[in-house]
C-alpha cells in the first residue's frame, strides 16, 4: 500500500461527503415536484400514456404499475433483440441475438443488473444498444429511485397505504435526474476522450505489424448512464478497463463518483423527507464505515499480492517504478489502489461495471466484492435500491432493539409490528434463497459444472459470484465461468428477476403498511436512531445477517482458497 494510493481513496471519500448534501437537495426537489422546467414534456408524456399524475396510488396499485411496466418493457426488448438483424442501425449486419441470450439480456437490463454473457461490440447492433439497453439504463434506474421514494413516503406519511404515483415518480426521475445528469457526464467523458460516434470499425496496424479491429460506437452517452444509474453494462466486453470507455485517471475518478453520488444524495434527501436529518447522517455513517472496511481490505489484499509469486522471486514490493502486489488482471494506468477502490465501489452499489478483472484478485481481495453484494448492496447501494435495502435493515435493527428492551418497536413514530417484520423478513430471505439454491444446484448438475473453467474453491467462488451478482442486480462478472449456455442464460436470467421483483413486492408492502400507521410521539422506550449506538447496531445486524447466511459458502470458496494459497497451491 502506498501513500499515493491512500490519498486517492481519501480524496474520493472527501468529495463524496462534499457532494452528498447538494445532490440530496436536488433529488428532493425532483421527487417533491418542485422542478417544473420540463412540465410541458411531462404533460405530453402523461397524456400520451393515459396517466393521471394526481392519483395517489395504494401500494398494491403502485406495485402492479411497476410490474406491468417492467413486464412490457422486458418483452419489447426481447423482441427487438431477436429481430435486430431486420432493424435499422445495424451497419455490421449483426444477427439476431440467440433466444437464451435475448431472454437473459432483457431480464438483466430490465432489472438494472446488466449482466452480460456476450461481447457488446460483436453481438449488439447500434439500434439494440441505443433503443433498448440505453432505455433500460434510464428507466430501470428511475424505477429503483421511485421505489425508494415510495418507501420513504410510507415511513413519513399516514395516508391509508397510499405511497405516491409510480408513473410520475418514473417520469420525474428520468426527466429531471437521470437525463440531465447523464448529458453533463457524457460531455465530460467526451472531453476526456471517451468515443461517441457511428463510425465503421477501424482496422489499425499495431507496432508489431499485426492487424487489429477497433470497435467504434456511441459509447460516452451509454457510459454516463451506466454509472449514474448504477447499471454497469459496458459498451465493450472489457467494460471500464477498455480505453475507449475509461481513458484517463479523471474518467476513472468521475465514474466511481458517479456510481455513489445519487445513492449518497438520496440518503440526505431521505432525512429531509422524514424530517430527521441526524438519522439520515447516521445511516450515511454506517454505509461509509462498511465502505471503508471493504476498500481497506481489498487494497491490503491486492497490495500484499500473492505469496507464491514472492516465493518464486517475483518482486511484489511497491517501488517508484513497480506497483508491486498483485497486478494480474489490472490496468497498469489505474494501478492497485484504483482497482481495489473501483471494485469496492461498484459492488457496494449495484453497478457492476469493472476496471479490473475480479477473478484475478487474490482470494481475500476477490471476496470483498462478493461480500459487498451479499450484504444486500446496502453500502450506498444501487440508485434507490441501496436506500430501501438499508431501510429494511433499519427496520430489522429496530425490531431487534425492541426485543432487547421488551417493547413494541417504533421507527420514526411508526409502530413496527408482525406484518411489517414479515415483509422485512421476506425481503431478507428471498435474497440468500435465490443465491444459495441456484448455486447449490449448479455445483451438482453436470450442465452447471460444464461452464466452469477453474476447479476447487475458485470454481465454487465463480458460481457463487455469478448468482450473487445476478440476484443482487449487480451484473459484475467474476469471469472464469462460461455463462453463454442454455442453463446459465436461463437460470441467471431468472435470478435477476427474482432478485429484483420478488424483493420489490414485500418492500412496497412494507411501505404501504407503514403508511397505514398513525404517527405516535416518541417515549422513553423509543430506541434512538441518531446515536453511535444505533450505527453500531445497524452495522452489526447487516454483518450478522450476511455472515449467518453466506459464511458457510464463503468458507468453502475464497476463505479456503486463501488458506490453501498460503500452503503454496493455486486454482
Amino acid at each position: 500500500m502506498t501513500m499515493n494510493g491512500w490519498l486517492q481513496i481519501l480524496l474520493f471519500s472527501a468529495v463524496l461527503l462534499a457532494v452528498t448534501k447538494p445532490v440530496g437537495i436536488y433529488v428532493l426537489k425532483v421527487y417533491d415536484g418542485s422542478f417544473r422546467w420540463l412540465a410541458p414534456l411531462e404533460r405530453i408524456t402523461y397524456r400520451l400514456c393515459g396517466i393521471d399524475p394526481e392519483e395517489d396510488q395504494h401500494w398494491t396499485r403502485y406495485a402492479a404499475s411497476m410490474l406491468i411496466f417492467s413486464a412490457v418493457s422486458m418483452l419489447a426488448t426481447y423482441v427487438v433483440l431477436r429481430m435486430q438483424h431486420a432493424l435499422p442501425l445495424n451497419p455490421f449486419n449483426r444477427d439476431a441475438v440467440p433466444a437464451r441470450q435475448a431472454f437473459e439480456t432483457a431480464a438483466s437490463f430490465t432489472t438494472n443488473t446488466n449482466w452480460q454473457s456476450y461481447a457488446g461490440e460483436t453481438t449488439m447492433s447500434y439500434f439494440s444498444q441505443m433503443t433498448q439497453l440505453a432505455f433500460h439504463n434510464f428507466v430501470s434506474a428511475a424505477t429503483g429511485m421511485a421505489l425508494a421514494v415510495a418507501l420513504v413516503r410510507g415511513i413519513a406519511r399516514n395516508s391509508a397505504g397510499r405511497i405516491g404515483n409510480f408513473w410520475t415518480d418514473l417520469v420525474r426521475g428520468t426527466f429531471y435526474l437521470f437525463l440531465p445528469a447523464a448529458l453533463v457526464l457524457a460531455l465530460l467523458f467526451v472531453q476526456q476522450g471517451v468515443i461517441q460516434n457511428f463510425h465503421q470499425y477501424i482496422t489499425a496496424t499495431t507496432i508489431e505489424g499485426a492487424k487489429q479491429v477497433l470497435a467504434m460506437g456511441p459509447v460516452a452517452s451509454q457510459e454516463a448512464i451506466k454509472q449514474l444509474g448504477t447499471n454497469g453494462g459496458g459498451f465493450f466486453n472489457a467494460n471500464s478497463a477498455h480505453p475507449f470507455e475509461n481513458p484517463t485517471p479523471w474518467t476513472n475518478f468521475l465514474q466511481m463518483l458517479a456510481i455513489f453520488i445519487i445513492p449518497a444524495g438520496l440518503v440526505y434527501a431521505f432525512g429531509r423527507m422524514v424530517k430527521n436529518q441526524r438519522h439520515a447522517w447516521a445511516i450515511w455513517a454506517a454505509m461509509f464505515i462498511l465502505f471503508a472496511g471493504g476498500v481497506t481490505t481489498a487494497y491490503w489484499a491486492e497490495a500484499r499480492g500473492n505469496p507464491i509469486h514472492a516465493a518464486r522471486g517475483v518482486d511484489v514490493v511497491a517501488t517508484a517504478t513497480n506497483p508491486g502486489g498483485n497486478m494480474e488482471g489490472k490496468e497498469v494506468r489505474f494501478g492497485i489502489a484504483n482497482s481495489a477502490l473501483y471494485a469496492t465501489v461498484t459492488t457496494d452499489a449495484s453497478c457492476g461495471c469493472v476496471n479490473s478483472m475480479h477473478d484475478s484478485f487474490t482470494p481475500i481481495g476477490g471476496m470483498v466484492p462478493l461480500v459487498n453484494m451479499q450484504l444486500g448492496e446496502v453500502i450506498f447501494g444501487g440508485v434507490g435500491a441501496g436506500l430501501y435495502g438499508m431501510l429494511v435493515m433499519v427496520v430489522l435493527t429496530i425490531f431487534i432493539a425492541g426485543l432487547m428492551v421488551g417493547r413494541t418497536p417504533e421507527y420514526l413514530g411508526k409502530k413496527i409490528q408482525s406484518r411489517e417484520i414479515r415483509m422485512a423478513m421476506l425481503y431478507a430471505l428471498i435474497f440468500p434463497a435465490s443465491i444459495l439454491l441456484f448455486s447449490a444446484a449448479s455445483v451438482v448438475l453436470p450442465m452447471g459444472l460444464k461452464g466452469l473453467n477453474n476447479a476447487g474453491p475458485h470454481g465454487l467462488t465463480e458460481i457463487l459470484y455469478a448468482f450473487t451478482s445476478t440476484t443482487a442486480n449487480n451484473g459484475s462478472a467474476f469471469a472464469g465461468l462460461t455463462g453463454a449456455t442454455y442453463y446459465y442464460n436461463t437460470t441467471l436470467g431468472l435470478a435477476t428477476l427474482i432478485g429484483r421483483f420478488a424483493m420489490h413486492v414485500p418492500m412496497l408492502a412494507l411501505a404501504g403498511f407503514l403508511a397505514e400507521r398513525r404517527v405516535v410521539p416518541e417515549s422513553a422506550g423509543t430506541f434512538p436512531v441518531t446515536t453511535p449506538l444505533f450505527v453500531a447496531l445497524l452495522i452489526s445486524v447487516i454483518l450478522i445477517v450476511g455472515a449467518l447466511t453466506f459464511f458457510p459458502a464463503l468458507a468453502l470458496g475464497p476463505v479456503v482458497e486463501h488458506l490453501v494459497m498460503g500452503a503454496g497451491k493455486l486454482f
Partner: protein, 38 residues
C-alpha cells in the same frame, strides 16, 4: 419454439408477481392497533 418458451416464462413470472402482491396484501390484514405491550 424457444421464443414461445422464454416469452411464456416472462409472462408467467410477472403473473406470479402480481399474485404475490395480492398475497402480501392478505398477509397485512390483521388487527394493527392497540396491542402494544407494556
Amino acid at each position: 419454439m424457444l421464443d414461445v418458451l422464454y416469452i411464456a416464462i416472462t409472462i408467467v413470472f410477472f403473473g406470479l408477481m402480481l399474485a404475490y402482491v395480492h398475497a402480501c396484501e392478505l398477509l397485512g390484514h390483521e388487527p394493527v392497533e392497540g396491542e402494544d405491550r407494556p
